[in-house]
Symmetry: C2
Subunit: 403 residues, 2 copies
Amino acid sequence: MLIVQKFGGTSVGDLERIQIVASRVSESKKAGNDVIVVVSAMSGETNKLVQYAEHFSSNPSRADMDMLLSSGERVTASLLSIALNEMGFEAVAMTGRKAGILTNTQHTKARIEDINPTAMKKEIDAGRIIVIAGFQGVNENGDVTTLGRGGSDLSAVAIAGALKADLCEIYTDVSGIYTTDPRIEPKAKKLDKISYDEMLELSSLGAKVLQNRSVEMAKKLNVNLVTRTSFSNEEGTLITKEENIMEAPLVSGIALDRNQARISLVGVKDRPGIASDIFNKLAQNDINIDMIIQTKAYDGSTSIDFTVPVNDIKDAKDVVDSFIKTGEIKGDSYNEDICKVSVVGVGMKSHTGVAALAFSTMADNNININMISTSEIKVSMIIDEKYAELAVRGLHGAYELDK
Amino acid sequence: MLIVQKFGGTSVGDLERIQIVASRVSESKKAGNDVIVVVSAMSGETNKLVQYAEHFSSNPSRADMDMLLSSGERVTASLLSIALNEMGFEAVAMTGRKAGILTNTQHTKARIEDINPTAMKKEIDAGRIIVIAGFQGVNENGDVTTLGRGGSDLSAVAIAGALKADLCEIYTDVSGIYTTDPRIEPKAKKLDKISYDEMLELSSLGAKVLQNRSVEMAKKLNVNLVTRTSFSNEEGTLITKEENIMEAPLVSGIALDRNQARISLVGVKDRPGIASDIFNKLAQNDINIDMIIQTKAYDGSTSIDFTVPVNDIKDAKDVVDSFIKTGEIKGDSYNEDICKVSVVGVGMKSHTGVAALAFSTMADNNININMISTSEIKVSMIIDEKYAELAVRGLHGAYELDK
């Protein structure tokens, strides 16, 4: 098998941890696999460099930042290669450039555009372990770029895709994806397998493990992704395509998103295109709208309710105010004390009654549902935030996820 | 003017020092110059990385070490560029690769083979300050290399040569080259100007400031080199070609080298080629011989005396022992308690009596001269180490270097 293993900052947090990572990599190699390792900077290093930069400027050039920030991963990659060689394995360290990771020119948040696997293939064919500095690539001008948050995961997934690796293992300090947040429901169980789409819908459960960007790339490149911990030998969670999951459960997990706010507009002028005008203007301001409900009251006036991430409230209010000024909206109200609970599962596609069970569970717990949205594999409900834990535990039990 | 300014590890030792360097660079720019800056890693950083590597292996791969060690200079270069931009100057950071520093493939002690100045010229033409990570280049395989000890100085000199810069300023914590070591002779004076050849002969005086490798490259590329301190505005010492020094003094300085040992061989077999055999074998073992004296005693037996760096004594003894075994050398003795004092000056070329004054000064101070060697611009004497300071002060006064 060809395996790509990615180790995050806490997994390579100090010299002892790097030695442990070397042992783990060597186990995979000894088991007969070809191994490519992608590493992050030692935890704290990137923050230190950011602080250094902030000492000089609140607005440093992005190209300078990329040259600065890309150094941390190079250190870890070199050290891990040195450790592996000392253990008797042939290993070679590579920068993102050497590994052939070609990006666009968007410094500090570059997108991977192509992978030139020539150098990697040569080393793999020679039987060597490759240790690659994650988070970085090179643009068409020959300048180093970095990939933004979760960049090392992207490096690993892109490399796994380009080399058609059998597996891409993402090692963190979390052992996998759970049916729900174990801090809320201690009965939460680790999932063995989950589909890309479910993972994307459950992103709040995996937020600290995997960014959606990486899951989306894995889906696109058909990369079998495993998230597992580097702190034990515990098996992780395989994220793969739906066809690879033989017996998909009805529901895979319950996600909770506290980062939602509800905006209610009343007395919205009854003219064609008014909703489109409002939401276009919100979109132009990079405000992500999640759910939308439009209702007509008995008196003929229109109300529009929608949800936005809490951080976007201020920007959204500016947009709303511009319509209030022109008289096209009469009043507005904002509520941050809400949350979104979602029931997610590919099994829903072929079963009925899944949504009904969610609603009745809310009713049984005396929780009022403010808004509802559904997709093929998800039922999401907006409820008052104070009921968040109650709702998660109720749904977790109702769908028998603790069994 | 086009000025290359190189700042060593102590000059960029912390964020405050980097800010001071930024001010100094900006002064040169504001004075109307084009400025290229070459920086070392923050002091302590490279040692820290070496220690990290040693944690894993006593014999790490040199390619891995280069990827590891080249990261420190990148951090400093990025930070200095960020600081300059914040001050309102247009600056751009470059790696050794981007600056076009092409080396051979000798990892950890690569030689600069060529400079491709295209990228640098473009930025200079655009009026930008360039900040380059010193100590590093790229080899024909596209791998990062480092240049070994004093590597950042070499980067600076090579760049100054390639761009025909008017001046290459090497900033350290020492204010320049003195007529002799001020710790021995407090009356020592800083030299305004000195020729390349004198500097090479005086290397013990400049050892902490400039390595011979950089001076040799400056001579070859005809680069006007200035060593000065980044801790004050004091003028430094210009190292330039002899023709640029209008009124060369008879003697420029007195150098002291305590790192010498004398090896005496007696009863050396009287056969043709014996000396050549001995010194060839020493050379094969990378032992640097400085002075050699061969004498024939009245009894017809040959003695050979020579000096080596103290660190090479053990290796030299192994070579000598191999000749003692075959009976071609009867006896050997080793003396580390010697030193070499040298009187250096291009003015000697056209004056007589310079050596005679050195010898009579020794005599006046009752110092016995063990060995003598002379060149066009130098008189060196091996004396007992206990007389080192006395000899230096005596010569310094005799040649009126304190005037």
